[in-house]
């Protein structure tokens, strides 16, 4: 429950980051140019981020104050969601140029989640680690702490040992709330290394915390490697049931790492 609340809180934080700005704050600080630009963004209210009206409102804000990161970031979202990496990156580079601390976490997270740009995400994340004194924050959808993203990028570029180190280091922080898929990712890293008992431990932790088809499936693979047929079969069956009940790794925009499919389970069960 605590984790669910934390996750919801991050979602709210993310929505907040995209919500309307308090224009009077700029006026209060005597920044009239930004105040005018901020008023221009208010014309986007009520328009879906993909629409012409939304984009034009933020274009006008950029014309008034081209050094404000927020309008570039706001415009970039629809390009991201439509897979237009060229325009998305141009806009996000501007946003990061003018407000690095606010928008570098977002650019790093999206490079990983939407474009599997591991090299680019690692560059962003290592810079972010430096400027935030190792407190990088979370991905835009709140699914991952950015240390977990860094670890997954290391894994994808063949640096699994470093990936494990980064995750374990994050887990050491008592104030850290475990992410909804964290144990699965660390478990899979151990599984791929052949460290089956460690992997099973983590999948069991995930089971207690947020039981999904993935942790059962990978646990079955670990038992299979240990030649524990009965445990393997039992977990494969559980994985299939969870999957069919929609209890699985899911993201509406892209396919997360270590996600499995129904046919993957069925093949392992010998049903395909």
């Amino acid at each position: 429950m605590k984790q669910l609340l934390t996750f919801s809180l991050f979602i709210c934080m993310f929505s907040g980051a995209m919500s309307q700005q308090n224009c009077y704050w700029f006026k209060h600080n005597g920044d009239m140019k930004r105040y005018e630009a901020c008023l221009a963004t208010e014309k986007a209210a009520g328009h879906y981020q993909f629409t012409k009206e939304f984009q034009q409102a933020f274009d006008n804000a950029i014309k008034i104050d081209p050094t404000w990161g927020y309008p570039y970031r706001a415009k970039s979202v629809s390009y991201l969601k439509s897979g237009d990496f060229i325009n998305w990156k141009k806009l996000m580079d501007k946003a990061v140029e003018y407000d690095t601390l606010s928008y570098l976490p977002y650019r790093a997270g999206c490079r990983f989640q939407f474009f599997r740009d591991y090299k680019g995400a690692i560059e962003d994340l290592l810079l972010l680690k430096k400027v935030t004194n190792n407190e990088m924050g979370y991905t835009p959808n709140g699914q991952y702490h950015l240390d977990i993203v860094l670890a997954l990028c290391y894994k994808a570029t063949g640096r699994s040992e470093e990936a494990i180190e980064v995750i374990l280091e994050r887990f050491k922080d008592d104030s850290y709330d475990i992410g909804i898929f964290d144990y699965i990712h660390l478990g899979v890293l151990y599984l791929e290394k052949g460290n089956y008992n460690n992997a099973i431990e983590l999948f069991k932790k995930q089971e207690k915390f947020n039981d999904l088809a993935e942790n059962r499936f990978y646990k079955a693979l670990a038992y299979k490697a240990l030649r524990q047929k009965e445990n393997c079969l039992q977990n494969l069956k559980a994985a299939k049931e969870l999957y069919q009940n929609n209890l699985k790794i899911h993201d509406p925009y892209q396919e997360p790492m270590d996600k499995i499919y129904l046919s993957t389970i069925e093949r392992e069960l010998g049903e395909k």
């Binding site: 629809s78 439509s82 237009d84 990496f85 990156k89 090299k119 396919e255």
Partner: protein
Amino acid sequence: MKSIELIYSMKTNLILLFCISILFSCNVEKEKQQEYLRMVGDIEFDPKLDDPEFKLCYNDSAVFQYFSFSSLETFVGEKEAIDDYFKEKYKPVDINESGWIRIRFIVNCKGETGRFRMIESDEDYKERPFNKKISSQLMALTKSLEGWQGFENKEHPLDYYQYLVFKISNGAIEQILP
């Protein structure tokens, strides 16, 4: 005589300069004014590019985005089937070209696809074409890919925009997104 020629030449240069500056300012103005369709990523019918047989079930002003329909889970065999299809059919090209290719298209309510468009970039997200052996092959395979689901709601049938992004590494497919 020479001074008259000089004045004449200066005058001609000034006129030329004036014309060039007008032309240049027009171009700058054109660049500044970004034109939008109804939505970012919309694809209008182009008779030179598009199959006239492909029809939307409803209309252009009501084409949804793919994520309104729960991602690639709705594809027959899920995303794994898409990965398997390209793994089997795509022939890697031995060339030092890496980056991303996006193919965006519409899926109509019958699960048919049309209006395919492509963008291409290098690893730094800079727009540039890939070797045709890569891009044309991916376009042809995407056009032949079957398994998209059609949808309808209570009021009318639904059409939606879908895309596939191919992360290319030295002419081979490294990853398919979303």
